[in-house]
Amino acid sequence: MQEQAFLEYVQAGGQVETGDEMPGDYRAKLIKFIEMHGNSELMGVLPEREWILRAPTLQRKLALTAKVQDEVGHAQLIYRVVEDLGKPRERCLDDLISGRSKFHNVFHYPTRTWGDVGVIAWLVDAAAIISQKALLKCSYAPYARIMKKICWEESFHILHGRDVVLAMMTGLAEQRELVQEAIHRWWSPLMQFHGNPIPAEDDPMYRWRIKSQGNEEARQQFLDGYVPQILELGLEIPDPALGKDEETGVWHYTEPDWDELRHVVTGHGPRSVERLELRRVAREETAWVRDVMLAQAA
């Protein structure tokens, strides 16, 4: 199929299956986008993993462990989609560990307190589910299909996070302070999360209908849904310019630091190096298990 005809097909809502013909650029963009999503699921468990052993109750420890297990499961499903597009999982992992491919900005930051754990599970997952829900309409159907299961699991991660935050907000002054500090730390990365506000039409991921909405649209949706939920708990958001224009319904805010975003996702975040190193060591140390199991199966 000609590239132009294909473009018109996906823009009209057409969907593509694994074995279908597709332009090289579409395939390359799909791999890049989906691989980064897989990387983010895999790297996204590391900030939370640090708190499994320090969870305040057994119930929280179990819930956090289950969430970590879910996210790794998402990475498995997503890398599988990338494999069908032509890039083997082993190469995805090579590229992730060597820094040739990227993962989401929010997973490059430290998890300082239990307050961070609550804020990550609540607000980082909330920001992520907005992007992921938009992927339910992705032009590449196998990716859209697995997103159904992923969104379903993410929605109870958000509840788990909100529950952690509510427990702290109804607790001691020290606990409330931990949450407030975490909001201060996470607000900038959260505002950067959906990317710079380029018009959807100029975004190649949107042109191919890999994404079904623009970056700014996603951020507006996040602000609309979650700013009221944050404020009603008596928490402060560290942006004096933040507010909603009641006439247009559009949120205005201080311009996020796009240089920081670029810097962080290219491997220069406060925890980028340590987390990639942990991933590398884990992969090496468990290699013998895979070898033994696969030898037995062969």
Binding site: G19, G73, Q76, R80, R145, I146, W152
Partner: protein, 92 residues
């Protein structure tokens, strides 16, 4: 080996394609299927099939234009209008 997964969400519902996974043999395949598509009670049953055992048939050519066995083969609007007009003329 790549396996395709079809899952049933509730009793009585159709099995729907859910995704795929890679597993070297049947034992691994069963474990992975449970792990990826059933561990949160989101499915009540799974079908797993090696991809190479799935035969896709996708070319349905309608050489003879056999639209007489489909509803779109019957456009009654114009004919009905004509029939009604004739009835009106005859009685008028």
């Amino acid at each position: 080996m790549v396996w395709e997964v079809f899952r049933q969400e509730r009793k009585g519902q159709a099995f729907q394609h859910a995704g795929s996974f890679e597993a070297p043999d049947q034992t691994f395949a069963e474990t992975y299927a449970r792990e990826f598509y059933g561990r949160r009670q989101e499915s009540i049953a799974l079908w797993i099939v090696p991809r190479e055992h799935i035969e896709t048939i996708g070319d349905f050519v309608d050489e003879l234009g056999r639209n007489y066995h489909r509803v779109d083969g019957y456009s009654l609007k114009t004919k009905l209008k004509e029939a009604r007009e004739q009835v009106a003329q005859r009685s008028g």
